[in-house]
Symmetry: C2
Subunit: 335 residues, 2 copies
């Protein structure tokens, strides 16, 4: 019987180190050609949007999708998982937390493979939910971080973020009043802003030799985060998926001014799998950009499902659908 | 609380005349620009495929999607409906029957607007589930049909279909051993075959002045039903959606040999809404082609949901997801 997992169940089941493991394993499955995906569905609504992202992991043996949409109540996120072989439902889960943690975890895999190993200073631009998970990811893979600077437009927000991070990770994070001041001297630059309306939170001129940038905040064509000059400043550009090039407003804006040199670009799974190189020199500037994929959702959700089974989390529910046998005599509806 | 509707509930709630009403109302909503949609997700699996079709009806105030996939158990179909304004879940239902009836019902709307009013003879090519619903649709909108001929490759299947239809609708249907013999003299030609591997069930040479053809069986790029010459023979070509031109194997094959004259082509909602003309002359050959849309699923499912509420069908279930409020202070995950 399929498992119904509410928000509290999901949060209990997966922490950041576990999520990073799941994302790294996904990268290997992708690199081995054992995944299938398709362009997401994206419909703009009066309030937010409806988005659906599919993913099939053929080695793991699971298929699924995430669906989320906005409304006056807020955003609702759900992931549906099915066994690939039989098609039977495995689980339905609240995917709000999954979305944040898998984005942070994939950013953590990027940091593991691309950021300077000896990094001690981090810059954060943004102070929302995804800035929190990015900090969690960086501390999981670069535990020597001792100093941080955060910029966010509202002083009380950046102060609160600095205090919270300083306490949480035993480091010295302070709030600064310009993004340039955060970036200056940092080994790692994290951006998680996702502004609508075309302002950029990071410019290429601010970047320094040896820095690694993680940018996760431009996931729709009308959402912006980094200036085209960031793409130009980067020596290597690593994407969570090539689909990003037509899904992210940052990529669309950079393409328009020819700021993306295709020779610099590869996918993170290729770096993890070894067919492409990440950082090859300590002086390089590296850029990781993500837009999020259904594969990430399905891989994270499947790990949650397995842990939920072990720990007896969630509620069993009866199956909704009656499978219809496929036969040549009675063709099934296919529309 | 959202409503869970199993296969038996769904079948009780919607009959063909009701489904045709729902599809005609949808056509008017589409023609008024009060719908939103997007390309479906389609991933080929080792057994069948995973397909997801979205739809938003802004006047009705509902959004939703249909998801279906194959596996060793068979095909599983589910539709998820949400209130557009709040985003709250309204219902989840088994969508196997919905898929068949909405396809037949939209074909019924096409027949109502395009087929000769005085039609008495019908040809059917195919004898599966969708041939049954197409017959149901034709009898709902052209009740003067008295004579039918059916072709299907297996003699026992076409004989059984002929007997079943003759009894069900008090008409004289006989099985014939060549598709041409079914088509010859018919006012309406229904095809519902969906063969894989490139054979066509209908050729343009067989068609006669004044005939209307409904073809609903080629909904994937590798699925074929009608020969390119059918597109050439038709004076008017009416589609359930323009997306068909890149989703249906029939349309792709016809495009390759330049058999589709774009001036003949419009969408059914334009004919229903009055901005395009359907049949303008009794001697014309008209062709309706459908591939199925998420809008059709959502419109049919919403009608089922309303009827289920009235008649107390289905089971209430607690909501799975916890909505996450959108605010500028704490941006939500958008990936």
């Amino acid at each position: 019987m399929p498992l119904l997992l509410r928000s509290a169940d999901v949060q209990q089941a997966l922490d950041m180190p576990g999520a990073i493991q799941a994302m790294e394993a996904l990268c290997r499955e992708e690199a081995a050609g054992q995944t299938m995906s398709a362009d997401r569905i994206h419909i703009r609504l009066a309030r937010g949007f409806l988005r659906i992202l599919p993913g099939v992991l053929t080695a793991t043996g699971v298929l699924g999708y995430k669906e989320f949409h906005g409304g006056s109540d807020g955003m609702r996120y759900a992931i549906h998982l099915f066994e690939l072989e039989s098609g039977a439902p495995l689980a339905v889960m609240d995917a709000n937390y999954v979305t944040a943690i898998r984005t942070g975890a994939m950013a953590g895999v990027a940091l593991k493979y691309l950021a300077p190993r000896a990094a001690t200073e981090v810059a954060v631009i943004g102070s929302g939910a995804e800035a929190h998970t990015e900090m969690e990811a960086v501390m999981a893979v670069r535990p020597n971080i001792r100093v941080g600077r955060v910029f966010s437009p509202r002083p009380e927000r950046r102060e609160a973020f600095a205090q919270e991070m300083s306490a949480l990770y035993s480091l010295q994070m302070r709030a600064v009043d310009r993004p340039e001041a955060a970036v200056d001297g940092a080994h790692i630059v994290l951006t998680a802003t996702g502004t609508h309306g075309g302002q950029e939170a990071l410019h290429g001129d601010w970047l320094q030799s040896g820095q690694h940038v993680n940018s996760i905040g431009s996931t729709a064509p009308d959402q912006r985060e980094i200036h085209p000059s960031v793409w130009q400043a980067a020596d290597r550009i690593v994407l969570d998926t090539h689909r990003l090039l037509h899904e992210s407003g940052d990529a669309l804006a950079a393409s328009q001014v020819d700021a993306i040199d295709a020779r610099k670009v590869c996918e993170l799974n290729q770096v993890v799998g070894g067919s492409e190189r990440g950082r090859t020199d300590a002086r390089q500037i590296t850029l990781y950009k993500s837009v999020g994929t259904g594969l990430q959702d399905v891989a994270a959700a499947y790990r949650i499902y397995r842990i939920a089974l072990e720990r007896n989390l969630g509620t069993e529910m009866p199956e909704l659908t009656t499978p219809r046998l496929m036969s040549q005599r009675a063709p099934v509806a296919t529309t």
